[in-house]
Amino acid sequence: MTNHWRDLKNADLILINGANPAEAHPVGFQWFMRAKLDRGAKIVHADPRFTRTSAVADKYVRIRVGTDVAYFGGLINYVLQNDRHQVEYVRNFTNAAWLVKDGYGFKDGLFTGYDPAKRTYDTSTWNYDTDPATGYAKTDYTLQDPRSVFQLMKQHYSRYTPDVVESITGIPKDQFLQVAAMVGEMGRPDRVMSIVYAVGLTHHTTGGQLIRSAAQLQLLLGNMGMPGGGMNAERGHANIQGNTDHAISWDILPGYLKIPAPGQKNLDDYVAQSAAKKTHPNSWNFFGINYRKFMVSTLKAWYGDAATKDNEFAFDFVPKPASNASWITIYDQALRGKMQGVILSGMTATSIGPDSNQVLQALSKLKWLVVMDPFPTTSSEFWRAPGLDASQIDTEVFMLPTTHWIEKDGSFVNSGRWVQWKDQVLQPHGSARHDHWVLADLFDRVKKLYQAKGGKFPDPLLALTTKYQDPLKPQLDEIAQEINGFDLTTGKRMATFANLKDDGTTAAGDWIYTGSYPDPSAPTAAGRASANLSRRRDGVRDPAHNDPTGLGFYPNWAWSWPLNRRVMYNRASADLTGQPWDPTRPGIKWNGTTWVGDVPDYPPTMNPADPAAYLPFIMNGEGTGRLFSSSMADGPFAEHYEPIESPIPNPLHPTNSTDPVAFLYDQAAGRPNRFGTVQDFPYVATSYRLTEHEHYVTQHVPLLVGLQPDPFVEIPFELGEHLGIKSGDKVRVRSQRGKLEVLALVTKRLGPVTVGGKKVYQVGIPIHWGFVGIKKGDHWLANALTPFVGDANARTPEFKAFLVNVEKM
């Protein structure tokens, strides 16, 4: 989230796409309802199902899954055609005025630079027209130049007329225009819209662009950086946010630094290819110009004394992946026989999928599998999955019992970036050990083997710092301090990342957390503990004192990255002179000498009247929000493509129907694609979550199993009549990849949509069941149905739109 949960109460309009917060994030949803009840905000919900969220929305529209780019594209077109954008914001705070160089174009569903053999784009034709003398992009602040981003955008989205939107999404034109009118009002400087989404937008081959299309709309309306505005992703697990920040992800290092690539021989190469470059004289480019300091500080935290100026701070020690190494890739590599061992903790590959049957084959090809978990999972038990013959499976499996959240301290980071420390409440159950103690011990044993016997280039693992009081049992408090970072000259903890250095005199595990645990004012145990700002608890008991702005920031409750900022990009909440666009909802405000309000996303004393004052978006090279960007793999503007399995050809460009850069794992590996067609699988399916369950772990919680005991498939009423299926009947749902045998729930919550002139039914499949837990069954894995294909940008699987057939058993 650019904003945070409680901030939703500050919105005038909340668009919800690809999410059902009333069901999946019910306690966070109270702030949506506060917006509605206290300030008369409206809620618009676009979803294939009429859900608990729809039930309290002011406007519900039934949308075909995977078509949200067409919805947002249609809204962008409406805003631009009717001049509903926030004119001053768009002119000054976005890259609307930037000129794009000749050569960029878009035709028949393809942007310029496409290589069909490699299924990739050469993105160099998507660059700005730069002035060779300065290196900066040329601009036209009248926004009239046909090569300006503004005019190119207007042209690109002119195809997304209400009729086209209806044809793609199935939303009747009149309903769409009602939504558009509501959204159009939000371009007023004193009106603010929030867009909220979840995995219903990310789990598509076009996931990155689905979100981008919404962000483009928010920039046009001037809603980024505003309290009550922003782009707000609802995370689905307690600490996906924190562990993404800390880079349990193949493509990043902590704090969203890019993973180094082969060919980068030193830090100069790395920074040159990773950090943004300034494209406007007033851009600060804060991230870009400090990239090297953040990287060197991480290398010092990891490799300690072995990281020196002479060896580029051990840059060579960081492993450099040959290509994508994300979730599906792991199992693809196993299927290719190239993956020997996998360690899983707190997640089960078999259930999560996609294509559970193929994942089971992949696990069967491993030499060894480790599952660290408090409970048995469908991965620890994969070798006795229904249909598999254990006596034919050579994979060694280690089940290591680990502790629960409540048996250890440490922080969880919520969707709103609030880092909240928790106590250790209970001692570890039985023989269970903390995950990080298991890994510390394992690492130590591996290290000793290398010390005793030698082996392949052991230098990086021998150099890795483990200077904890007990290297086998690091305390999470010690690690929190390492993450925050130290001044290595004074030994004191850093107070801000602005002081990190690239000369090896500072170490910080994750620069965006620097300042979360500053040096204590008093060198006592209490002083040290109080310096961990994520422990702060100045909450709602005393709102007058603890919420000084009244906007719900509660700055002394826990800590929010970066630097305790509660709304990101908040410089954009004030106009060029530093006055809030909406005085009733100030993010930050220039008082003549300093910026006041939230922690400013800007130099605290920079006078906005100074001709050299920085532009508002300090994290990119432009200094402005990007309506057009060369950083996406599949286009500088979001474009609608059909899901890989789709009931109709793309009405906009049937010859290039699906995302031309979506990654087809099976095809790329020389295996046949496991995709079905609408002739064999006539119904669109989507997967989703229920309030009583969280993924699969709740199958071990009796009360929750009691509340929601059986797997089911939701079938539209008319389709149920057509197929002779009633609620409670047992049905078989099949895709090209597998089957599900569960009960039918025939409901009017789902209904047909008419798209491309054709009536299409959508069915809904909750994901929470399998062959492990209190209630279990043989064909209860929803992801047995989902396709083995990845988003063009993130390689996120397409869990949310695929084709199935349904039959009564």
Binding site: W5, H25, V27, G28, R235, G236, A238, N239, I240, G242, T244, I248, S249, L253, P262, A301, W302, P319, P321, A322, A325, W327, Q333, M339, Q340, I343, L344, G346, M347, G353, D373, P374, P376, I393, E396, M399, K408, G410, S411, N414, W418, K422, D435, H436, A440, V446, K448, L449, Y450, K456, P460, L464, L476, I479, A480, I483, G509, D510, L704, R795
Partner: protein, 190 residues
């Protein structure tokens, strides 16, 4: 009580919790609620936690007794996120904490075996250390085909961590990169 439905009773209870005085039942529910609350947590140690499920980040108050046993988990009324409220999952967090389904022992399943064997932590970690080393040694690439220094372990992957404390997650990233892993993933994509 037969004249009062369960829903009515809950409503009355909720009013009592809100501090309303004499209720429809003719006695002071606020006082009764307070007595009940005191009985429930009398002598208990109060600690602070955060809900382990979705990422709203609802604060919890956990009560334990002198023996270290968990007595109750409730929503934390001070939190600006949840103001004491919990959903069905959070409200039943105590059952997750005390679930009878926990794995009690370190378990090993040999190739082709049809069941588990109990082994000790020491055995398991020694076996695993050897496998990690063998995998690293046999799949480690120092220089790629183009002559670039890459220093990566290709044959091993780590996935998980959405239930880790952040600090565990950071430590995991560091250790796995230290071992040369490039295949590193948690629940952000799935």
């Amino acid at each position: 009580m037969s004249a009062i439905s369960r829903r009515d009773f809950l409503k009355i209870g909720a009013a009592g919790a809100g501090g309303v005085g004499l209720s429809a039942l003719g006695f002071d529910l606020a006082q009764a609620y307070q007595v009940k609350q005191n009985l429930r947590i009398a002598g208990a140690r109060e600690s602070h936690s955060v809900c382990p499920y979705c990422a709203v980040g609802c604060s919890l108050v956990a009560y334990t007794n002198d023996a270290g046993n968990l007595l109750q988990i409730e929503g934390d009324p001070d939190s600006p996120v949840n103001e004491g409220r919990l959903c069905p999952k959070g409200a039943s967090a105590m059952q997750l904490a005390t679930s009878a389904n926990r794995v009690e022992d370190v378990l090993y399943r040999a190739p082709k075996a049809t069941g588990w064997t109990k082994i000790s932590w020491d055995e398991a970690l020694n076996m695993l250390a050897q496998r990690v080393k063998d995998t690293r040694d046999s799949s480690f690439v120092t220089t790629d085909a183009n002559g670039n220094t890459v220093n990566r372990t290709e044959g091993m992957a780590f996935a998980g961590g959405a239930a880790f404390s952040s600090e565990e997650g950071y430590f995991t990233t560091k250790v796995m990169r230290g071992l040369g892993l490039v295949h590193l993933e948690q629940q952000a994509r799935v």
